[in-house]
Structure formats: structure tokens, C-alpha cells
């Protein structure tokens, strides 16, 4: 199927007005790594929450499975909403607001789950993470891709995305297991997630707006698009 699609390398890029600066190269690399890293950690902690639900709350496999599938559905819905919203309002609001919500709400939610040990609390925290950790993703991907020059975009994006995922993907679950083993308290997990969320929030606040609609632009065609199936 992919054989029939046209190439996009060299497609139209916006030319920005002088003085409306987007993220610099250094900013997008450092802050992009931090934002992807924070998102990755929260993602894996959420995966761990499923294990927590099974062992601590004694949930049946069916309930855990339902929670997982509804979580996946949430990824899809949140991504679509996030994509439309970041085209409308720019990338910054979509990066800042979800991170702020997570930082403010994770600890109280974890406390609630810890005290009540209820199914409602477990689902609520899954829903919270599912929505607010994924609604920012399109804005983040676009911000990184559009801030990189087209001639280095494919490799640049791949590296900024893959390094934190590869590094933290395997280690986060081990760290969380160790953390809970040492402290014996799920509140430690809440503090850890709040800290990671705060790093993401700071990175989001430091990243300048990159959306063309918010910076003022005129289109330039760098090259013609290769026609389909050429």
C-alpha cells in the first residue's frame, strides 16, 4: 500500500516572518528529550498500574483487560482531540495544560486509591493518565518535527523520540518495582509521578510556540512533490 503514496521530502514549508522566533535547535533537542522522557515514564507507570490493580485490588483478569482496552481507546480518542486542538490553539497550550493537570491531580488521586482501595479510584486514575498523558502527544510530535529543519527532520525526530523511549522503556518498571519494595507505600509512586510530571511541565513552559498559525508565515515551495507511483 505504501508503494502507491507520494514522497513528501521537499514539500512546502512555511517561511516565517523575521522576529517571530520558534524553538532554537538546542531548545527543541533538550526540551524535546525531556518531554518525551517524562511522557514515556508516565506511560510505563500507567502500565504498571494494571499489575497493581491485579495484585493489590484483587481485580479479575476480565476487569484488568477491560481497563487495558478502555485505556487503549483513550489513547486513540485523546490523540485525535489533541491533534485537532493543537492545530486550533497552537502547541504550547496542549503541552502545558495537560502537564499542569497531571502535576496537580496525581498525588490526591493516589491518596484516594490508597485510602479507599476502590475500583472507582483505580479506574479514575487510569482515565486521568490515559487522557492527559496522551492528549499532548500530537502537539509534542508536531512541535519537534516542525522545529527541526526539513533536511535533518527524519533523523532528528527519530533520535529525540527513540533515545528516551529506549533508555526509560526498559528501566522504569524495574525502578517502580524497587521504589515500592523499598518504601512499601504507593504514595511514593505518587510523589515520583508528580516529580516527573513537574519536569515535563517546566520543559513545556520553556518551549516556544512553533505552530505556523501562531507565528505568522508565508508558504514557500522548496521542491515539487513527486507524483504518486512515479
Amino acid at each position: 500500500m505504501r508503494r502507491a503514496i507520494p514522497e513528501t521530502k521537499g514539500s512546502a514549508e512555511p517561511k516565517f516572518d523575521v522576529g517571530v522566533a520558534g524553538p532554537s535547535h538546542r531548545q527543541i533537542v533538550v526540551l524535546g528529550l525531556a518531554l518525551i522522557g517524562a511522557g514515556t515514564i508516565l506511560n510505563y507507570v500507567q502500565t504498571y498500574m494494571a499489575t497493581f490493580g491485579q495484585t493489590e485490588l484483587k481485580l479479575s483478569t476480565t476487569v484488568s483487560m477491560a481497563a487495558q482496552l478502555s485505556g487503549n481507546l483513550m489513547i486513540i480518542i485523546a490523540s485525535v482531540i489533541g491533534g485537532i486542538a493543537c492545530d486550533r490553539w497552537g502547541r504550547r497550550p496542549l503541552l502545558i495544560v495537560p502537564a499542569a493537570v497531571l502535576v496537580g491531580s496525581i498525588l490526591p488521586m493516589i491518596m484516594w486509591v490508597d485510602i479507599s482501595r476502590s475500583l472507582a479510584g483505580f479506574f479514575a486514575i487510569n482515565l486521568l493518565l490515559g487522557i492527559f498523558n496522551n492528549v499532548c502527544n500530537p502537539a509534542l510530535y508536531v512541535a519537534i518535527a516542525e522545529s527541526l529543519p526539513p533536511q535533518g527532520r527524519s533523523r532528528g525526530f527519530a533520535l529525540i523520540y527513540t533515545f528516551p523511549v529506549a533508555l526509560l522503556g526498559g528501566t522504569t518498571q524495574m525502578f517502580v518495582t524497587w521504589l515500592l519494595h523499598v518504601t512499601g507505600n504507593i504514595l511514593a509512586l505518587g510523589w515520583y509521578m508528580t516529580g516527573i510530571g513537574a519536569i515535563g511541565l517546566i520543559a513545556a513552559l520553556l518551549l516556544p510556540e512553533s505552530a505556523p498559525s501562531k507565528r505568522g508565515w508565508e508558504p514557500i515551495v522548496t521542491d515539487t512533490i513527486v507524483p504518486a507511483a512515479a
Binding site: D87, F157, A158, E218
Partner: protein, 227 residues
């Protein structure tokens, strides 16, 4: 033509040289589908880590077998940044499309190698070596895929619709996660543990190849002479 800042950009602000909306939609769909399939492969491996460990690693000890399997899983993660650098660079030099095609072909080969290689009991030490190599190629392909496919989506969607097209990345991962888990659970429910270890996990990988072949034939606007 000049577009002022702080003004909502609607679809009528289409730029010469960009893809039409219908074209863009088709292209993004193709990129999303491919991306989802690659994630499915990567996740299916994680789901069947224990069974794959039993098949390829010479151990009567289940723990050592699992560790071997996890080592293979780790190799996939090491392959990712290397693939990001090499295939990402290929996407910048040659094009996003060739990079996507290449990473898909590599992923397909790695999966076929893994699904078709006999276990340690049959071919000895070659089995774990092939498994580790296949996993490395798989990670390499996935690392390159993310860069070229996301770049492709962002560029194909049009300047005012970049967010919408990039959201397909999340959609494809969500679908792949659900599909991977469903196939895994269905096989676990239908087959006995012994059957699952001896051939069940291979079905999950082969199912994806058949599915992919069918979709390739059914692809709209994809006539024979275009190949």
C-alpha cells in the same frame, strides 16, 4: 500570499505544491497502517516472551529461558536508537517514503525469520543466534520507522493540519496495542500451554503477514501497473 499570526488557519488556505485533502488522507492512512503493523510486531514479541524463550533458549530452567528471552527483548531496544540514526538519515537523504518502505521490509524479514526458525531442540545454537539477530533488525526497523513515518505524516497533512495528521501516530499505537493484546489473549484461551509454546506464538506473527498481504491487494487506487 501572506498569513498573519493569530488567525485560525482553515482548509481554504491550501498551499500550491501540497497534497490535496483526499490525497493527504490516503497517504496518512497508509503511513498509519504500516506504523501500526510494526508496533503490533514489536508488542506481540513482548506478549509471547515466555513462549519464545522456551523455543529458542536451551534451558530446562524456565527462569533462565525467560532471562534469555528478555535479553532478546533488550536487544530490540538497543537496535532502536541505531535504526533511528541510520534509517532516519536515509529518510533525510533519499526520502521519507523509501525509508518507510525499507523499515517495513526489514520488519517483515525479521518477523518471518523469527516465525519460521526451528527451535533450539532442532537446530541447536543457531536458534538463539537467529532470534537475537531478528530482534535487533526488528528494533532497528522500528527506530527508523518512527522518524520517517511521523515526519511523513506531518509533511503530508498540510501546514495548517499538522496536528491532525500527527495524531495518527497515537491512533496507530492504540490500535496496535489492542490488536496485539487481543490476538495474544485469544491464542492463550484457545490453545493449551504446550501448544502455545510449540507453535501458538508463531500464529500471532504469521497472522499479521497474511493480514498485511490481503490489505496490500485490497488497497484502493493501487492498480497492478503502479507496483
Amino acid at each position: 500570499m501572506r498569513y498573519p499570526a493569530r488567525k485560525g488557519l482553515a482548509m481554504e488556505h491550501w498551499v500550491d505544491g501540497q497534497l490535496s485533502k483526499a490525497q493527504a488522507r490516503k497517504c496518512i492512512f497508509a503511513a498509519t497502517l504500516g506504523c501500526g503493523l510494526e508496533f503490533y510486531d514489536f508488542l506481540t514479541f513482548a506478549f509471547f516472551a515466555i513462549q519464545i524463550g522456551h523455543t529458542f533458549f536451551p534451558s530446562s530452567n524456565a527462569y533462565l529461558s525467560l532471562m534469555g528471552s528478555l535479553a532478546v527483548f533488550g536487544t530490540g531496544f538497543i537496535g532502536r536508537p541505531i535504526g533511528a540514526f541510520v534509517l532516519g538519515g536515509y529518510g533525510d537523504r533519499v526520502g521519507r517514503k523509501p525509508a518507510m518502505m525499507l523499515s517495513m521490509a526489514m520488519m517483515g524479514m525479521a518477523i518471518a525469520a523469527l516465525a519460521l526458525t526451528p527451535g533450539y531442540a532442532t537446530i541447536g545454537i543457531a536458534a538463539p543466534i537467529i532470534a537475537v539477530l531478528a530482534r535487533f533488525v526488528q528494533g532497528f526497523a522500528l527506530g527508523g520507522e518512527v522518524g520517517s513515518a511521523t515526519t511523513y505524516m506531518v509533511e503530508a497533512g498540510g501546514i495548517a493540519r499538522r496536528g491532525r495528521s500527527a495524531s495518527c501516530q497515537g491512533v496507530c499505537q492504540g490500535i496496535a496495542l489492542s490488536l496485539g493484546a487481543s490476538v495474544g489473549l485469544t491464542l492463550s484461551a484457545l490453545l493449551s500451554p504446550a501448544d502455545l509454546t510449540s507453535f501458538g506464538w508463531r500464529i500471532a506473527f504469521v497472522a499479521r503477514r497474511i493480514d498485511c498481504a490481503v490489505r496490500d491487494l485490497d488497497a484502493p487506487g493501487h492498480s497492478r501497473d503502479q507496483r
